[in-house]
């Protein structure tokens, strides 16, 4: 028995929307364990989101429509990205909507409007966050593109489903180009999702914060949408990494058995991926803002090395 492609599409969409908070909860549990703290349950993010949805909204008196529109847009764009990435199967009717480059640019919209919302009220914190976020993004983008370039060389395509299909059928081998690209991708993904050592997602009122500074003024359902979209973005970046570097197990069609297997493998890979991220986050301290060019520069260098390795060795 097999599912219709549109059913898979819907399933995946619901899965990402529904499981993203659980994944964020899992990351939090691991992090608490690693740092010797008591962890809240895996369901805590759901409770947070529900609580925020029920709350009233407090808006600054000079907030414009940009400020009120941005949370919905951020959530909407992230949800659209969720429908494009192959999580369980490559048989997705909407996956052709965007290739990797377009997908990265979709997150560009999220960033652009979040930064605008940060400047809307006119407080120093918001402007600071926006300014820093755009600087980090500017330096991360070339490295991201080089990593994508290297991966697309290996599969001769920048379309995600095609990458998964080609790489999933290939025999397992450690390819130096992909190893370099993976290292670069992990570094950039940490920057794009605002994790340590680039930004600290746990801060709420510190001079070093970046993403939290932009959304400092938000409350109620607006904040809930931001939080949920943030969790989805984190999951999507993991899914992107899985699709590009470890696609084994993602089903080629809509066969139920294959889908169940793919789901099991996905949960396993996400759990392991979260563990790696938590180890990085626990082992490192947040960097100074002006150390970041070196960090992102090394990511760029790694990705370029990957490309050169491909041309020379493969």
């Amino acid at each position: 028995m097999s599912l219709h492609p549109f059913a898979i599409e819907l399933l995946q969409f619901v899965l990402l929307l529904g499981l993203a908070p659980a994944f964020a909860g899992w990351v939090k549990i691991l992090k608490c364990r690693a740092q010797g703290r008591t962890a809240p349950g895996i369901l805590q993010p759901y409770r947070d989101i529900r609580r925020l949805f029920g709350k009233d909204i407090v808006l600054a008196e000079n907030a414009s429509w940009i400020f009120r529109f941005t949370p919905y847009l951020v959530f909407g764009v992230t949800a659209v990205a969720a429908g494009i990435i192959p999580l369980l199967s490559v048989d997705l009717p909407l996956s052709a909507t965007a290739d990797v480059i377009a997908l990265v640019m979709l997150f560009g919209i999220v960033r652009f409007f979040t930064a605008l919302a940060g400047m809307d009220i006119g407080t120093a914190f918001g402007g600071m966050g926006s300014s820093r976020e755009m600087m980090i993004a500017s330096l991360a983008e070339p490295a991201m593109l080089m990593a994508v370039f290297t991966v697309s060389l290996a599969s001769n395509s920048s379309s995600l489903t095609q990458m998964v299909a080609v790489m999933g059928q290939a025999e397992f081998a450690i390819r130096p180009s992909l190893a370099f690209a993976l290292a670069a991708f992990i570094m950039i993904a940490l920057a794009e999702t605002g994790r340590i050592p680039v930004d600290n997602p746990a801060t709420h009122l510190e001079l070093t914060m970046v993403h939290e500074a932009m959304i400092l003024e938000y409350s109620g359902r607006h904040l809930a949408l931001f939080e949920w979209a943030g969790m989805m973005k984190l999951t999507i970046f993991f899914a992107l990494g899985i699709a590009a570097f470890s696609p084994w197990g993602i089903a080629a069609d809509g066969d139920i058995g294959a889908l169940l297997l793919a789901f099991g493998l996905l949960v396993f890979k996400l759990a392991v991926g979260a563990l790696i991220m938590v180890l990085i986050e626990t082992g490192l301290a947040k960097m100074r803002l002006f150390r970041l060019p070196e960090y992102l520069g090394s990511a760029f260098l790694l990705a370029t090395l990957g490309m050169i390795a491909f041309f020379i060795l493969e």
Partner: protein, 680 residues
């Protein structure tokens, strides 16, 4: 049905007639402005129609008019490439003409409207003629008409010294460029072997067989000349001077359209006249394109004059167009017509897109200027509350130029990226390794452009008013200006959502110039999916992105408003510090500070902080003065030495001038003797 060349001819004649008739109406200004600009809108529309028809049918029409030099009548020719640029010029001419009806009223009673209308229509006519011309003489006449008309338009507010200086610099560089183009034509004509003036027709140049050395000489002379007009770094210095001081409707046309005539010229020379060239020509174009793109956007980030910032962004976008052209030339040199077609389409698409969104942004900047009378962004803020219609229209321009889906800038940059991704197919090991680094630079450019436009929109329209005058005096602009901007904004969206139709339409150009079509693969899966080359390679669907975002946003909004929670408006949270003022907001300079610090080595930055002690308590700081000066390094490297040298030579020559009659008589005598010796 009239032929497309006739329609284009009608457009030009209508514009020329307007230039002649405008002075007759100067006494009735209430009629003069609307009539003149609506007629120029009609003429622009005619040009668009002619262009669309030509490109769609792929037809070539030509004609001669028996004026011009004896033996060299004016040749006109309308082929798809010219037709495409007719559309670019006409489309912006249409929007800006509608916008101008409201905009130039701001000069009413202060300045001569006749002068504005005359030069405006001549400027448009000149640009149309540049792309229609089919011989070197007519081309240069049109080119100079365009340059001279725009010079007078830059000089429009000529009581300011700054404007006169900018206009002079513009004229100077335009003429150095024109000289190079003239020489390029000379090389082509001299080598074509055709007798008399026939060599100066473009037809003779198309069939000319040039040796590789002469071909390179002709191409690079022409490229230099066109690059000077387009503002390619390092020939860009006039651009950030001239665009800010011109009236905003003129800046929109100059930046959106006039620069594109140089892209037309480069395409014409490379793909139509010379056709066969080595790959390094494309390499040079690509390298200069990358340089212009990255440095253009970085210089733009450092500006706080709104229009100067936009002018530097024109440098950046011309760079992006040249990247596409350069890639196309490289692919063409290696006999890869499909990839050449892809890169050429990317370049042409970006030409059209940049015209539309940059026109929109300059019109928006004009609206802001019209309302606030300041150009300095540090004195603006919160205009979204005072100008509720201009703000979203300007935002569309910002999103488009930042290459964010689903707007138009994204499509052309994405196509350029696809061309980059296909470069490993090149049979040249060095290019394989180097060209992908260009893709990284393009990504850097895109991200920096987004940073820059967050700054622009955030500082100008969001936050609180920073200026000295009362914000209550600022009002939304009139309907005609809004309509002009609205049409441009709608075009931005449509060009972003329906790329397959646009590519299907302009496919006749790569077919004629590169010998390959793109639309067959690009629109293979219907209009919904853009799949250049093959759908396994890459695909993008503007409509799905647009509708998807729209649907999710609408559904989320509806679900969250079933049980509406209350929204309370409160004063800005000030962290308990009760004296929060608008001066404490992030400024434009503060916003770009991290990038200035990271990439500051590319500029000549001088930062001075001076703490003045308190008068009563010298131990305490009284006030703090911060000075920041950022200079274009190219001015000091390239232009200042030349200026100094010219001045030095002039002074040496000036010694001849003694002011005494005897000396001058002696000069005459010596000259006579020398002439007699040589001629005798």
């Amino acid at each position: 049905m009239p032929a497309s060349l006739d329609i284009a001819g009608f457009a030009v004649l209508l514009l020329l007639a307007l230039a002649v008739l405008a002075p007759l109406l100067s006494s009735v200004r209430t009629i003069q402005i609307p009539l003149a600009f609506s007629l120029s809108a009609v003429a622009s529309l005619a040009a668009v129609v002619a262009g669309i028809m030509t490109v769609a049918s792929g037809s070539v029409a030509s004609a001669t008019i028996s004026i011009g030099l004896p033996g060299l009548p004016f040749h006109l020719r309308l082929d798809p490439l010219a037709g495409f640029f007719l559309v670019v010029i006409g489309l912006m001419g249409l929007f800006v003409s509608i916008y101008s009806i409201g905009y130039v009223k701001g000069y009413g009673g202060v300045r001569s409207m006749t002068q504005m209308i005359c030069f405006y229509t001549l400027f448009l006519a000149g640009m149309l003629l540049v792309v229609l011309a089919d011989d070197a003489y007519f081309f240069l006449v049109a080119w100079e008409l365009m340059a001279a008309a725009s010079y007078f338009l830059v000089m429009y507010e000529d009581e300011k010294g700054e404007n006169r200086r900018a206009a002079f610099l513009y004229l100077l560089i335009a003429h150095v460029g024109a000289l190079a183009i003239l020489l390029a034509f000379g090389v082509m004509a001299g080598q074509s072997g055709a007798p008399g003036f026939v060599g100066y027709t473009f037809n003779a140049m198309r069939s000319a067989q040039l040796s590789s050395g002469w071909a390179a000489a002709a191409f690079f002379l022409a490229f230099f000349g066109f690059a000077a007009k387009a503002g390619v770094i390092p020939l860009h210095v006039w651009l950030p001077e001239a665009h800010p001081v011109a009236p905003s409707n003129i800046s929109a046309l100059m930046s959106g359209v006039m620069l594109k005539t140089s892209i037309y010229g480069i395409c014409r020379f490379a793909f139509d006249f010379i056709k066969v060239f080595p790959w390094w020509w494309g390499g040079v174009v690509l390298a200069l394109g990358l340089l212009s793109a990255v440095l253009g956007v970085l210089y733009a980030l450092m500006q706080h004059d709104l229009k100067r910032l936009l002018a530097y962004h024109s440098v950046e976008n011309i760079g992006i167009i040249l990247i596409g052209l350069g890639l196309s030339m490289i692919f063409a040199a290696f006999q890869m017509p499909t990839l050449a077609a892809l890169a050429l389409v990317a370049a042409l698409y970006h030409t059209l897109n940049h015209a539309v969104f940059k026109g929109l942004l300059f019109m928006g900047a004009g609206a802001v200027l019209h309302a606030t009378h300041v150009r300095n962004m540090e004195e603006m803020g919160g205009l979204i509350h005072r100008m509720p219609w201009t703000a979203p229209l300007f935002l569309v321009g910002c999103v488009s130029i930042s290459a964010l889906p689903p707007f138009n800038g994204f499509v052309s940059e994405w196509l350029t990226f696809q061309a980059f991704l296909l470069s490993p197919a090149l049979p040249h090991p060095l290019l394989k390794l180097l060209i992908p680094l260009g893709a990284a630079l393009l990504a850097l450019t895109g991200a920096l452009a987004a940073a820059c436009f967050v700054k622009v929109f955030g500082v100008v329209f969001l936050g609180q008013w920073r200026g000295h005058q009362k914000p209550e005096r600022i009002h939304e602009v009139g309907p005609s200006m809004l309509v002009g901007m609205l049409l441009a904004a709608i075009s931005c969206l449509l060009l972003g959502i329906f790329p397959t139709w646009v590519i299907g339409w302009l496919d006749t150009i790569p077919e004629q110039l590169c010998g390959a079509k793109l639309a067959e693969s690009a629109g293979k899966f219907g209009w919904l999916w853009l799949t250049p080359i093959a759908h396994e390679r890459a695909s993008y669907s503007g409509p799905v992105v647009f509708i998807g975002i729209l649907v999710v946003v609408a559904v989320t909004w509806l679900l969250l408003h079933v049980h509406a929670t209350s929204v309370s408006r409160v004063p800005i949270w000030d962290c308990g510090f009760v004296k929060l003022t608008p001066r404490m907001q992030y400024t434009a300079s503060a916003f770009s500070m991290p990038i200035r610090r990271v990439l500051g080595f590319l500029f000549a930055v001088r930062e001075q902080v001076e703490i003045v002690p308190h008068t009563n308590h010298p131990a305490l700081p009284g006030s703090l003065q911060y000075r920041l000066r950022i200079r274009d390094r190219f001015w000091n490297w390239l232009y200042a030495p030349q200026g100094d040298a010219a001045y030095w030579v002039a002074r040496q020559v000036g010694r001849l001038q003694q002011g005494r009659i005897q000396i001058y008589l002696l000069y005459s005598f010596v000259t006579l003797i020398v002439l007699l010796v040589f001629l005798g």
